[in-house]
Structure formats: C-alpha cells, structure tokens
C-alpha cells in the first residue's frame, strides 16, 4: 500500500515536470486530468470507507472530468493558437523545476522532524506541485495557461492536506473543490471576454497597443 501511495506522489511530480516541458495547451489540460485521477485515488489508498469512496468519485468527476472538459471547451471557443508561449524556455523551466524539487525535499525533511507520521515524499510532492502551479502562472503568457497553473496550485494544496495525515476534514477539502469550481467558471467567462475584446488571450499584451487606444495613465 505504501508503495502505491508513493507511486501516486511520484506520478504527481512527473506530471508537474511534464507540464513545465509541455508546449501544447491541450497537452497541459491532459496533464491536469491525469493529476485529477491521481488525487482521486488518494483517499482510497488511505482507507477505503464509504465516505472516502464517495469523496474519491467526487474528486474524480470534478478534477478529472469537469475541469478538463471546461478548459477544452474554453480552448476551442477562444480559438487561440495552441502553443503555450512561455516567457521562460522549456529546458530552463525544467531545470528551475529541478532546483525547486530539491528545495521541497529539503523543506519537507525539515518539517518531518516537527511532525512525525507525515509522508515526507507526499509533502515534497505537494510543495513542488504548488511551486509548479505558481511558476506556470507567472511564466506563461496566456490566460488559459494561467488558469491551468492555478488549478495545479490548488492540486498541490489538496495533496498537502492529504499527505499531512490529518483526519478527514471535509470542510477544507470541500472548500478547495468549491473554490476551484467557481474559479474555473469565473475565469472561463473572463477568458471568453478577453478573447472577444482583444482577439487573443495574452494577458501580457492587454495593456499594449490595441487599435484606437493610447497608453494608459501613468
């Protein structure tokens, strides 16, 4: 059982790296779905009770089915160019990710001395997943990739919650899901509007040189 739990954590880390290396938005969304599947397995691996099965299927349907579906639809709707367009190159992103991974292993090793019984690999995987999400938000230009980054960030928080070995706290877990659902819906609307107004979804060039516009107040 421990082996499978660790395998889930490793798959999460590898998926993060794949996200950093991926050059297609559709590929990023698939990776997101993979992470959703992994997270939905987690409650079952801890102990398979009825409430956990319910919770796992909830996570599965939201994170592995609904979000990827919504994001794919948004991608199709805005009809954007399918490339990710990073501000930091792919290989550099991977190497930065590697440094962050080493840091998160170090950090969770430190934390392990405070609270015995937590899964060190799980905490490092979650810290690294959070880092990956934040890095994607700041280093990728398009609005839709920023949404992907945010969802990955939240996945990291969820993973942290499960690997700290707390007793089931439905409030926080449901909070994450609610938060994500609302966020994806809201940002889907905003992405749509950005596309309609600007004919592209680059958040970087929004305050740039649109037609009939002067430089904003400075």
């Amino acid at each position: 059982m421990m082996d499978w739990l660790q395998t889930v954590f490793v798959v999460m880390i590898v998926a993060d790296f794949a996200l950093l290396a991926s050059s297609r938005i559709a590929g990023c969304i698939n990776i997101l779905a993979l992470q959703g599947v992994m997270l939905s397995v987690l409650p079952l691996l801890n102990h398979a009770s009825v409430s956990n099965i319910f919770f796992a299927s909830l996570i599965f349907s939201i994170k592995a089915l609904v979000f990827p579906f919504l994001l794919r639809r948004a991608l199709k709707m805005v009809n954007a160019k399918r490339e990710v367009e990073p501000l930091v190159g792919y290989s550099a992103s991977i190497l930065i990710g590697l440094a962050a991974l080493i840091f998160s292993f170090w950090l969770s090793g430190r934390m392990g001395s405070f609270s015995p019984g937590m899964a060190i690999l799980g905490v490092s995987a979650s810290v690294f997943t959070m880092f990956t999400g934040l890095f994607v938000i700041v280093s990728r230009v398009k609005a839709i990739t920023q949404v992907v980054g945010y969802v990955v960030f939240e996945n990291g928080i969820y993973l942290l919650g499960s690997s700290l070995m707390l007793e089931q706290n439905m409030l926080v877990e449901l909070g994450v899901i609610l938060d994500l659902l609302v966020f994806v819906l809201l940002s889907g609307i905003v992405v749509f509007h950005i596309n309609r107004e600007f004919d592209h979804i680059d958040t970087d060039s929004m305050d740039g040189d649109g037609p009939g516009r002067e430089v904003p107040l400075r």
Binding site: F114, Q146, L164, V172, G175, D179, V190, R218
Partner: protein, 486 residues
C-alpha cells in the same frame, strides 16, 4: 439574528436577480441595506445566540467591522441607486479610451452587490477559521463582476488581475489553515474554532504556527493590499464604479484585515506575538513606503486613492503588530479609514461624472464645476491625510505615540516620512483640481441629494469621531485590545 444578517442580503440578491425594472431593484437594494444596518446595530444591544454550532457569533472586533461595513453599504447603495438610474438614462459614463462599451446586466450587478454584502457579513461573524476562509473567498467571487461592471478593456485587465492574484492569495491562506490544523493536532484535536485555538494556544507547536502565520499574512495580506502583493488593488479600485471602489476599499479590505487580525490573536496567545507582530510591523512599514512612492508619480486620482488605501492598511497592520494599547488605536483607525475612504471614493464618482476624466491634470475648477462635490473632495482629502479634526488624526497619533513610547525611533521615522510624502502628493493634486477655470464644458451632470448626502454623512461621522470619542465606544474597543496584553 446572525442568520438573518448573513442571509437576508443573499436572499435579497437572489430575488433581485429575477426582478425586472431598475426602480424595483433599487428599492430592494436600498431597503435591504437599511434593514441590514438596523439589524447589525440592533444586535449590539440584544445578545444574539451563536449560530451553526458556534461557527457564527459576534465578538467585539467582528461586530465593529460589521456595523462599519453596514453603514458604508447603506451609503453606497443609495449612491448606487442613483448611479444606476443615471447610467440607464442613455448616458455613458466617460471612458478614457474613447470607445463604446456595454455595461453588465443590471440584475446580475445588483445581485452581486447584495451577495457581496452577505459574504462580508459572514466574514465578520465567523468564529471558525474555515468559515472565515470561505467568507473571504466568497467576497472575491461576489465582487469580481462588480469590478467588471463597465465592460472596457482596462476593467477586464483589472478584473483578471484581481481574480488571479487574490485567488492565489486565498490559496496561500488555505495552506495556512492546513498548517494551523497540524500545529494544533494535539492541542485542539484539529479544531479550527477560534475559541478552541485561543484556549489551547499555549500547548500548540510554535514552529508550525509561525509557518502558518506567514502563509496567512501573505494570503490575507494579498487581499488586504499589503505591499508587495498590492498590485491588483490600484487596478481594481481604479476601474470599478465609484461605489464599488468605495465598498472594496472601505469594507472588503477590513474583512481581509480581520483574517490577519484573528490569526495574530492566536499567535499572541501562543506566545509568539513578537514574531507575528514583528512581521506585521515590517509589512506595514513596507506598504506605507511603497504606497508613498507610487503616489508621488500618480496622475490618476482614483488610483491615488487606492494607493492611499495601501498606506492606511500598512498603518493598521503596523498598529495591530504592536499589540497592547495600539490595538484600540488600530481599530479606531480601521473605522475612520472606512468612513473617510468610502466617502472619498463616492465623491470621486461625482468628480468623474462632472469632469469626464480621471487624470488629475485635466480636472480644473472643480469648485465651479460642482461646488458641493468640490468642497467634499477637498475636505475628504484633508481628512484622509490625517489633518485634524478628522478621526484619522486621532488614530494615527495614537499609533505613532505607541511606536515612539516603545523606543522604536527608526520605525517611527519610517512611518512619518511616507505620511509626509503622501500629504504633499495629495494636497498638490487637490489644489490642481479644486482651483482654476473648468477647461471642458459641463458634461450635463448635476449633483443631487443622493450623490451628496451619503458621502457627507460619512464625513460627518468621521469628524465626530475625531472631535469626541464616546465612552461606550472606548470601552468596546478596550475589550478587543484585552486579548493583546503586553
């Protein structure tokens, strides 16, 4: 009672989504706001039972913020009612970009406004860190459509920044919640009730609690607008309609501040108050300095007010970080800032309608253009800079006295310099705007009772608090400070 205060605005919001006609929606809006104020103030005098198994209960700090928010919401909704009517009368609010834009559907807008009020009431009443978190999160989602009321490119950019940055901040505070559960896993059995946490703070794991506090400070600090996480704030405050900016600045920032304040209280009783307080003092000084430097170069008066909010939040966080007697001054500061800044943003809507521009340099002769608004603007700017007899003078003076009496001369200097710079920047701007001849023709806008009386009321309350502090209020504030004995 508590249920009513939280749910009535939300239900009214749901109802107004389905109601047709501006007039009936405005009636719902204003009457709900009035009812909310009556209930909030009324519950001061009648002890109300805790709700949801103790998750919702009014303590002194929450109640204080609730009443302030409610008063501001009433003023803003009266203003909003006339604003929406004015917008409806085939008139487009001036847009700097000079291109046509469409507004949000008004039923959605009113619904979000009321829902926003309900979410903020939830934050004020929350006695459970999880519920507090959900409430603060709900405020983001309720207010995002408000910021995007004018569908222009810049407001779109502002709302994207707002949602993105604040959501990441909310995520950080969720990590803080998780860490608090770890720190209290033995002491409070993972409970997140604030009373449990305060009671068992002495036996919590201090190291993990420190880490949790850092996450809370960054997370809720983002929403509070502390530098360097403040970058969403000028954009969102600048681009949204006047009364929305007024609510964001006067009520929403308070709610986020309340989040930091609650966790600070837990840290204080866990004996690591010097750590959390030190971090807050640092963030407060940094915010004030950053805000001052951005304000000197600022050419947009709404953004200037937004940066002033950053500075005042920095001041409040600094005061709360000091603890002891400074807590009373901090609470006073929060009330006064809400009243004054809320009032100023409302007036800024008048100025924008009268002059048609948000650039400071292009507004000339405000006094001739629109006398009442001009005078209010002048008085409000003086008040927000802490000129006596404004209430902000009293509170800033009390905080500074506490700083100097602790022998923190460097911090004192670091807070005085930005105050001076900000006074210079703001008074220069108001001079430019107030005097001179109007350069453009009138925009056809006339000031009316509903756009003048709400800000006037807020200003008068603030000045009253500057001239005289009622004894019951002082006793009330003293109870809040009781948890922060040095």
């Amino acid at each position: 009672m508590i249920f009513a205060i939280v749910l009535i605005p939300m239900l009214a919001g749901a109802a107004s989504y389905f109601v047709k006609g501006d007039r009936s929606r405005n009636t719902i809006l204003v009457s709900t706001a009035f009812l909310h104020l009556v209930l909030s103030v009324g519950s001061l005098f009648f002890a109300s039972a805790p709700a949801l198994g103790g998750m919702l209960r009014f303590d002194e700090a929450g109640h204080l913020f609730l009443c302030t928010m409610s008063l501001l919401f009433l003023c803003a909704s009266i203003y909003a009612a006339s604003y929406i009517r004015f917008e409806g009368a085939a008139h487009r609010a001036p847009d700097d970009d000079g291109f046509i834009f469409a507004d949000s559907p008004k039923n959605l807008f009113t619904a979000c406004l009321l829902f926003f009020c309900g979410a903020m009431s939830l934050v004020c009443a929350a006695q459970h860190l999880g519920v507090l978190w959900i409430g603060i999160e709900a405020t983001t989602f309720a207010s995002a459509p408000l910021v995007y009321y004018h569908h222009s490119r810049r407001s779109l950019q502002a709302v994207w920044k707002y949602v993105m940055i604040c959501s990441v901040g909310i995520g950080f505070s969720l990590i803080g919640n998780l860490l608090v559960m770890v720190a209290f896993s033995d002491a409070a059995k993972g409970s997140l009730f604030i009373s449990d946490l305060l009671g068992s703070a002495a036996s919590a794991n201090a190291d993990i609690l420190m880490a949790a506090f850092v996450f809370f400070l960054v997370g809720y600090g983002t929403k509070t607008g502390l530098a360097p996480m403040h970058s969403w704030l000028p954009a969102a405050h600048g681009e949204s309609p006047a009364f929305v900016s007024s609510l964001l600045s006067g009520a929403l920032l308070n709610c986020a501040f309340l989040g930091i304040f609650r966790v600070h209280g837990i840290c204080w009783s866990a004996g690591i108050g010097s750590f959390s307080g030190g971090l807050m003092i640092f963030m407060g000084l940094l915010s004030a300095l950053v805000a001052a430097f951005f304000m000197i170069a600022q050419r947009d008066y709404k953004r200037m007010l937004a940066y002033s909010s950053v500075e005042h939040m920095g001041m409040a966080v600094l005061g709360a970080g000091l603890g002891g007697p400074a807590i009373v001054a901090t609470m006073l500061h929060m009330i006064n800032h809400s009243l004054t800044k809320g009032m100023l943003f409302l007036v800024s809507g008048n100025v924008l309608s009268a002059s048609g521009t948000r650039r400071i340099g292009e507004v000339k002769g405000l006094f001739k253009l629109s006398p009442a608004s001009g005078v209010l603007w002048f008085a409000g700017i003086l008040a927000i800079c802490g000129t006596p007899p404004s209430g902000l003078f009293v509170s800033e003076f009390l905080i500074l006295r506490e700083v100097f009496s602790r022998g923190m001369y460097l911090s004192g200097a670091l807070i005085l310099i930005p105050l001076l710079l900000i006074f210079g920047a703001m008074s220069r701007a108001v001079m430019e705007m107030f005097f001179g001849e109007p350069s453009r023709g009138g925009s056809g806008w006339r000031e009316s009772a509903s756009t003048i009386l709400p800000p006037l009321l807020l200003l008068l309350v603030s000045i009253f608090l500057g001239l005289h502090l009622p004894a019951p209020l002082l006793a009330f504030l003293g109870k809040i400070g009781g948890g922060f004995k040095l």
